[in-house]
């Protein structure tokens, strides 16, 4: 059975639901504390850095956690091709280590800067839409999602704007297809402005991978949309219709939600055969 470590750093707050979403697709998940011997991490096939506020976002979101021996170990393990996902605060940690995008290994090439939206500065906590794109991360993180599908997902961040001060890095992120998830409007068109574009990220990036495609920094929270019951009842579009049709039907409500694709894609990449009764 494939095993994934969910790294518990002081201040994160999504480790349990992330572990449950992994278990739901047949991946054995264990929450690993940041101060366990980092050698423990080598036993795992994949890693998830969950959302939250590691070290209370002191100095800068992700800045302190990026220096942890456990994170250094995960970065080393990723060099052998093991998948790593950073969700929200986890994405901020990965960006601060430099392994995303990893165009020039050993260099930090991005920041997740404070959100930028006209007259709406600060924290955003709401649902948005994303679409998957072709790129080196497709096989690991979105293989079970059609490129034509518009996926509603929740997000919750104050510092979610992917940006770089290096024009070469930006050009290569675009040309090498490292933006595997982009913000779109409800019809699937590129998010031109707020509120479809929640933070002003370059290239409307919601998720960026490393060059090899096995490490993903993803700002929305798929674990908060892994079951249909987690969808808002009044959400427009096909997922909202499914949610409304499931009212009173516990089996349907316990079915996969729009965020499940990330976990099923990861399970597929790890060769997981779904346990009986589990929808992968």
């Amino acid at each position: 059975m494939a095993r994934a470590a969910v790294l518990q750093i002081p201040g994160v707050n999504c480790e349990y639901e992330t572990a449950r979403a992994l278990e739901a697709v047949g991946i054995e998940a264990r929450i690993v504390r940041f101060n366990e011997p980092s050698s423990v991490l080598s036993e795992f096939d994949a890693y998830v850095l969950p959302g939250g506020f590691a070290f209370q976002d002191r100095i800068r979101a992700g800045a302190v956690a990026a220096k942890l021996p456990a994170v250094e170990r995960i970065a080393r393990e990723s060099e052998s091709g093991k998948p790593v996902v950073g969700i929200c605060n986890g994405a901020q940690v990965l960006v601060e280590t430099g392994i995303v995008p990893g165009i020039h290994p050993g260099r930090v090439e991005l920041a997740l800067a404070p959100n930028r939206a006209p007259r709406r500065p600060g924290y955003q906590c709401r649902w948005i839409h994303v679409r998957a794109h072709e790129g080196p991360g497709r096989a690991t993180f979105s293989s079970t999602l059609s490129l034509e599908e518009t996926v509603p997902l929740p997000l919750a961040h104050g510092e979610g704007r992917f940006t770089t001060a290096d024009p070469e890095v930006r050009a290569r992120i675009e040309s090498e297809g490292l933006v595997v998830f982009r913000y779109v409007d409800a019809a699937g068109r590129p998010a031109a402005r707020y509120p479809d574009d929640p933070n002003g990220a370059m290239l409307q990036a919601a998720g960026i991978t490393n060059v090899a495609g096995n490490v993903l920094a993803f700002m929305p929270h798929p674990e908060r949309a892994a079951w249909l019951r987690m969808m808002p009842q009044d959400w427009p579009g096909p997922w909202g219709e499914r949610r409304r049709a499931a009212i009173g039907n516990i089996d349907a409500l316990e079915g996969p939600g729009p965020g499940r694709f990330l976990f099923t894609s990861l399970a597929k990449r790890l060769g997981v055969t779904a346990p009986q009764g589990v929808a992968v």
Partner: protein, 198 residues
């Protein structure tokens, strides 16, 4: 000539303490990071041709009597009018520093608008913000070894180099000694900072 407000916590600053602890783990042998202090800098910029004295008295009162900038239960402040501040900004005794600002516009329009709703401040054009990190350091030779510390704890370049500033979101200015206020003003007013060279 801008008026200057500097604020810092007088209770324990857990962010500075975390920077101290994280920074200590990133240093070469024989180097000691002794203390870190975080200070917020506000520059109050007058409109072109305006006399800053026209708003500085009211501004001082606004700082003392409102909680826009300072909660006196947990923070202390120094307010320096354009006439009082002098030509140079000096680091605290024994320290050197790094001044960090957003790569975006440093003007805090929301803060200015809220301030003006309650206080008449004729001639105030902008409130600009930045953050100073003050460091007390000691190298193996007993000096501050600030170049070594700056390289390890200053702008982020790689996992083992840099902590306090991410240059993809922020720009920084070395405060290795007295710095002319006009250079600080220029640093904060620069509208679009040059991209980092590849």
């Amino acid at each position: 000539m801008s008026a200057v407000l500097l604020t810092r916590l007088k209770i324990t600053d857990l962010t500075a303490l975390t920077a101290l602890e994280a920074g200590q783990r990133m240093l070469p042998e024989g180097h000691t990071l002794e203390r870190v202090v975080r200070e917020e800098l506000f520059l109050f910029e007058p409109e072109p041709g305006a006399d800053p004295a026209s708003f500085e008295e009211n501004l001082h009162e606004a700082i003392e009597t409102s909680n826009f900038f300072v909660n006196p239960n947990k923070e202390r402040f120094r307010f320096l009018t354009s006439g009082e501040r002098g030509d140079k900004w000096s680091p605290p005794e024994g320290a050197w520093g790094i001044l960090a600002r957003s790569r975006d516009d440093t003007r805090d329009e929301g803060l200015r608008a809220r301030l003006l709703r309650e206080h008449p401040l004729p001639g105030l054009a902008a409130v600009r913000r930045a953050r100073a990190w003050w460091l007390w350091t000691r190298g193996p030779a007993g000096d501050s070894a600030r170049e070594v510390f700056y390289e390890r704890l200053g702008p982020l370049r790689g996992p083992a180099h840099g902590l306090l500033v991410n240059p993809h979101a922020e720009a920084s200015l070395k405060l290795f000694g007295d710095v002319a206020w006009k250079d600080v003003e220029r640093f904060l007013a620069e509208p679009a900072l040059q991209p980092v060279a590849a």
